[in-house]
């Protein structure tokens, strides 16, 4: 359980909140690059960390992210005309460049310097991989650009998607840290999902339903190791990294692409679940990409607004017959929706004063503790949080069989460090 004030501290990410300020120390994924596909394309509304923004790609291909509303009368610039080097409000013609600087105010005399004094609040927006990343914090504290492996592998080796999740970001993140739910919720998918099946690790999963856990403090966050019995004298380890504040990876299976997530707050009651797949040493096959686009693996089939086709308004297309047949454990199709359906069912912001955690939830307990400490250290003492250094981000999940007497942090060695051209360590 958490006290009410700690729950509020961790779940509120708007401007001026401790957790909101913590998030504003990191580059966050805010749009898929496909959402701004070409120069002068239509602007896109972006809501992130409880701020309403508008994103553009101008005539020269420069990306901009600024206050959604015109400085003049507060009109949404989503109605604007993105042309000739800027975004023009259709109401009275005020025009802004990609930095939010007003460059034309037609009602003013041609020689007026009025526009120089009008600037919408704006944030840097950069394309790395298939993702547009934004930094919403103090410009003087801006960290280096992100170096997550999935955005640094050669073209064709990664696939990224996003889906709307209608609950607070922390509920979604905690699902990414909680390795123990896989044994139940996703058990129906290990042998059927094309991006999971065929792994020897799946047999270990099935044979040992009561894994042991080791939660290891790590420079960028935590490593959560789940160990199951393997051959005599050996354990099968699945190691999940969490990097502050909202990055997790799923341990790999066989030679399937490696996957992971970002959980990005839209506001306090909604978040974007970002899901990526990549292979460190080869291009993704057409079959793999087709499966990802179809919503297999950690992805979901979505509508044009990135809301999953199975959502709470249609009861997630609950299929009790598939549940009875054992095709799905919860009756919901697909790993992503299996998670989000349950996390959304907890309510927009779950009341953690009423939960009943057990010792095997120690990963969640420790993650909350680290988030709370990081947010308060930043707010009260100006201590910069971890997670922004290249070594924090060049991290991999690992699946490995080790001798029973070997600690997993020792056994995995450098397998958890992302190195270009080096394959993932997997079973």
């Amino acid at each position: 359980m958490l006290r009410t004030e700690i729950n509020e501290l961790l779940t509120q990410t708007g401007p001026g909140t401790p957790m909101g300020e913590l998030f504003r120390r990191y580059w966050q994924p805010v749009l898929l690059a496909e959402e701004l596909p070409e120069n002068d394309c239509p602007p896109v509304r972006v809501k992130v960390l409880s701020e309403r923004l508008i994103a553009i790609r101008d005539s020269e291909g420069r990306y901009g992210l600024m206050d959604e509303f015109c400085a003049h009368r507060g009109v949404s610039l989503w109605f604007g005309r993105n042309e000739e080097g800027g975004l023009r409000c259709p109401y009275h013609g005020w025009k802004y460049d990609y930095t939010g600087q007003a460059v034309e105010v037609p009602s003013e005399p041609e020689t007026s310097n009025f526009c120089a004094n009008v600037k919408l609040k704006s944030y840097p927006l950069v394309k790395l991989g298939d993702v547009l990343w934004a930094y919403l914090g103090d410009p003087e504290k801006q960290p280096p650009l992100p170096e997550w492996e999935f955005i640094t592998v050669p073209e064709g080796q990664a696939y990224t998607s996003k889906r709307l999740q209608e609950c607070n970001w922390l509920q979604a993140l905690e699902g990414g840290i909680d390795s123990s739910h896989v044994t139940f919720l996703h058990s129906g998918n290990l042998d059927s999902d094309p991006l999971f099946k065929g792994s020897k690790g799946n047999a270990y999963n099935r044979a040992d339903l009561k894994p042991f856990f080791e939660v290891v403090d790590h420079e960028g966050g935590l490593l959560i190791g789940a160990r199951r019995n393997a051959e005599e004298g050996h354990y099968y380890w699945r190691v999940t990294p969490w990097v502050l504040p909202n990055f997790t990876m799923v341990p790999p299976r066989s030679d399937h692409p490696v996957h992971g997530h970002f959980w990005v707050p839209i506001d306090d009651e909604n978040c974007w679940a970002w899901s990526f797949d990549y292979h460190p040493t080869r291009r993704l096959t057409e079959t793999e990409v087709a499966a990802m686009r179809a919503g297999m693996g950690v992805h979901s089939a979505n509508d044009e607004n990135y809301r999953p086709l199975a959502h709470k308004d249609n009861d997630y297309l609950m299929d009790r017959e598939a549940q009875r047949r054992g095709e799905t454990y919860s009756g919901i199709k697909g790993i992503a929706l299996q998670d989000s359906s349950l996390q959304e069912s907890m309510g927009p912001i779950v009341d953690r004063t009423k939960e009943r955690l057990v010792a095997t939830d120690a990963g969640i307990i420790k993650a909350r503790q680290k988030l709370r400490k990081a947010a308060l250290a930043l707010a009260e003492e100006g201590v910069e949080p971890v997670g922004n250094r290249a070594q924090d981000q060049k991290v991999r999940s690992v699946a490995i069989v080790l001798p029973a007497d070997q600690p997993f942090v020792e056994g995995i060695g450098e397998a958890m460090i992302a190195k270009p051209g080096v394959p993932q360590t997997t079973v």
Partner: protein, 159 residues
């Protein structure tokens, strides 16, 4: 659609408004947690944590080889008796001492179906004798743990 149908739909049931109708009652009795320090430094940590008001948690150090425990007031009590109504046991180690006691306690917990957790309080060290001592007996280990982690674990599990 009937009223019961509305409540059964996920769209309606998952709203903040509906959350307000969750029944408010104690979910279960507090967890009966036993916390056992395996060495002198661990005992200092456990003693400090024990001074907080807890629901039903009890705190001990070990008397080798673990068939008895020493309460924080210095009374020797049999392990079996202290485990009688327990459902969680937390072992705390800083240096791997009393591995035999850890094994005895771990085995006793296993027989009784008591969840075991271990805190390896070795600042800055990812592998240590303490880790090896606790590993076979703890279903979940925190490595390296801090004193705070014991507080958090006990609070979070309503001990």
């Amino acid at each position: 659609m009937t009223q019961s149908g509305l409540v059964s739909s996920c769209a309606r049931a998952a709203t903040a408004e509906e959350a307000a109708f969750r029944i408010d009652y104690p979910l279960a009795a507090a967890r009966n947690t036993r916390v056992v320090a395996l060495d002198a430094a661990a005992e200092e940590i456990v003693r400090r944590v024990s001074q907080t008001q807890w629901a039903q948690a009890r705190f001990y150090s070990t008397v080798d080889p673990g068939h008895s425990l020493l309460t924080m007031s210095g009374e020797t009590v049999p392990l079996a008796g202290e485990l009688e109504d327990s459902n969680t046991l937390v072992l705390v180690s800083t240096n791997g001492q009393n591995a035999e006691a850890a094994a005895t306690i771990g085995a006793a917990c296993k027989v009784r179906g008591i969840m075991t957790a271990g805190l390896v309080v070795t600042p800055g060290q990812l592998t240590s004798q303490a880790l090896f001592a606790l590993r076979p007996h703890a279903r979940i280990l925190l490595v390296p743990a801090e004193e705070d982690d014991l507080f958090e674990l006990l609070r979070a599990t309503r001990s």
